[in-house]
Symmetry: none
Subunit: 197 residues, 4 copies
């Protein structure tokens, strides 16, 4: 049994330090906003040396990405099996809830924001987060279309932007997502009255 008072250090990566950093970053973002999220503040809060952070993460953005990837997989995984309209609706509802209710939703918004300021963040964010998720989402839509559940006027990527965009935009501008919005989006975007055109 390791000494519980101080199992610190050694010559392998210290898991406790890793978690302390992730949680400190998350907490600081939620409590004081991205502006207060400096590497020094994270180190202070986590009780960790600055160098320990730089040893494992190239930037604070990557720390946030690590937490976001984990949290997203937990809170709103892309449905794998059943490709029904209802599954899509449920997924979007979970996403909207994550954005507007979950403290971790702030991380997504902060990274999307930071990607506008810094190309390296944009690259990482797309590569490690947006890209993989979009792939799964596209597959979901494709399966649903093939199953005849939906018949979007737009291609899968544009359709996803049309579904996700409004929710993200509302969150970015501080607007509430009104009850029924997700349903309406699914109806309008995924099941348009095609003959009308």
């Amino acid at each position: 049994m390791p000494d519980s008072r101080r199992p610190r250090s050694g010559n392998r990566r210290d898991e406790a330090a890793r978690l302390a950093v992730l949680h400190a970053a998350d907490d600081l973002l939620v409590e004081h906003g991205f502006a207060a999220l400096t590497v020094e503040a994270i180190a202070r809060r986590a009780g960790v040396a600055k160098q320990t952070i730089y040893r494992w993460w190239p930037s604070k953005v990557e720390i946030l990405l690590d937490t976001l990837i984990e949290d997203s997989a937990k809170r709103f995984p892309v449905p794998e099996g059943k490709a029904t309209a209802e599954a899509i609706r449920g997924y979007l509802r979970a996403f909207a809830r994550f954005l507007t209710r979950d403290p971790a939703g702030k991380v997504l918004l902060a990274l999307l924001a930071q990607a506008q300021h810094d190309p390296a963040t944009a690259e990482s964010f797309r590569e490690r987060y947006l890209g993989p998720r979009r792939e799964q989402e596209r597959a979901l839509l494709t399966r649903a279309t093939e199953a005849g559940e939906i018949a979007p006027r737009l291609g899968p990527d544009a359709a996803l932007d049309a579904l996700v965009g409004p929710l993200v935009y509302a969150a970015l501008t501080g607007a509430a997502v009104p009850r029924g919005m997700v349903s309406a989006l699914v109806e309008d975007v995924l099941k348009p009255a095609l003959p009308a055109n």
Copy 2:
């Protein structure tokens, strides 16, 4: 008659300095990104003392807001008279063009991003930019609905988020806005097949 080629203006605000700052900020944002947009750099580029900037603007964000408000009014004014579906489509096309083609579109994205990092920016951005424009846009939609041109399933604010959100989200994630997306959004969101529900 005042001399119109007044070089520097005594104890009144120096218009040349004001313009130099606005242009310097704009140029720096486009050329080097928001991260390089420091007050010192703006002052350097504009050939202006730092104090002259702080005298008139509380932060670099307000500088950008000033340029954005002017540019937006010029490049994609909200249609005032004719409230047809076609007018709305034209407006959204101009907006999409501004976001993706116009260098000044970067300013909008940067401010929307910065608003996520800093509550003061969020407040200013909403108050001075998003709010006023949204008001006009809402009026446009309301007039069009009353004229029977459109019949949105969603309320005006949610409908606008559903139209604008996808365009903004695409720009934020670096995705292209595919040809036909604006038309599809207008059809889907503003003229849904209501009886079908």
Copy 3:
């Protein structure tokens, strides 16, 4: 009779402004020290525009010099007639009192100090203050020597430094000038036991 409510301005130098500046400078020096004596502060305190100060004085040092010259002539004029040892003693006592008791003594110390930091001040201070006074003091000593009242071992300039130096040095280092110091200096420096050498 000029309008007493506001005889301000016109096209001749405003005497009220001149006096306000001199008094403001003096007061600020005494109240807050030389460090707080900025041209802006003087202008504020005197209720005068900054430019009015720069129009008439090349620097704040010259303002202080103006007040010092006036005050010195009033508080410890160099004795003109009687060249006795007693006259010299009296003069030095008045000088010591000015340095340690009179608020205006701070002006002398401040200018002597500033002369160390800035060659222009040194030049002005020597030219307009130290030089003229030293001339009179030298004459006093010469007359007293010729009258057989004193027999200094040192030349007149060195003797004056030997008399004035200790008083100034004590004031500069915040030491008190002990009772009897002036008498002892006069005895030691001006009436040494020459045969003993």
Copy 4:
């Protein structure tokens, strides 16, 4: 045995940086005067970050004090053993030489000057420099008096002011210290013809 050619010292104070700052301050004072002695200029000249200066010194005055204390101990130490009139004369000659010939003498004058402008400087200067030296000087005079070498009319502190004051005052006013002045002061102040009074 510790490696004596340790180039940079990890988390301990960097001695090279300390010396670079002291020398830069000294050089700048001598070359361009106290007015040009800004913390920024010192940092620039020393090739050191501004923060490194602020980490170790509360103000530029303390930097100068550090150099002055070291230099004074080297150039004109207070004689410790032999308390003869000759020892005192030698000490004063070394002091006069330091003031008028040695570039480091400017530091003493500058600090004495700055002490007039700023109470904090006065406090530090007295506490760290004037006080300790005066203590040693007083002891020297006391020993010499007890040994019958001198018989000053004034108390030790006043006598020291009477010896040092003229030299400092001459330096402050840019006057030369004439050959024989130190001797005359020692004779006049320390060996007055007491019975004659």
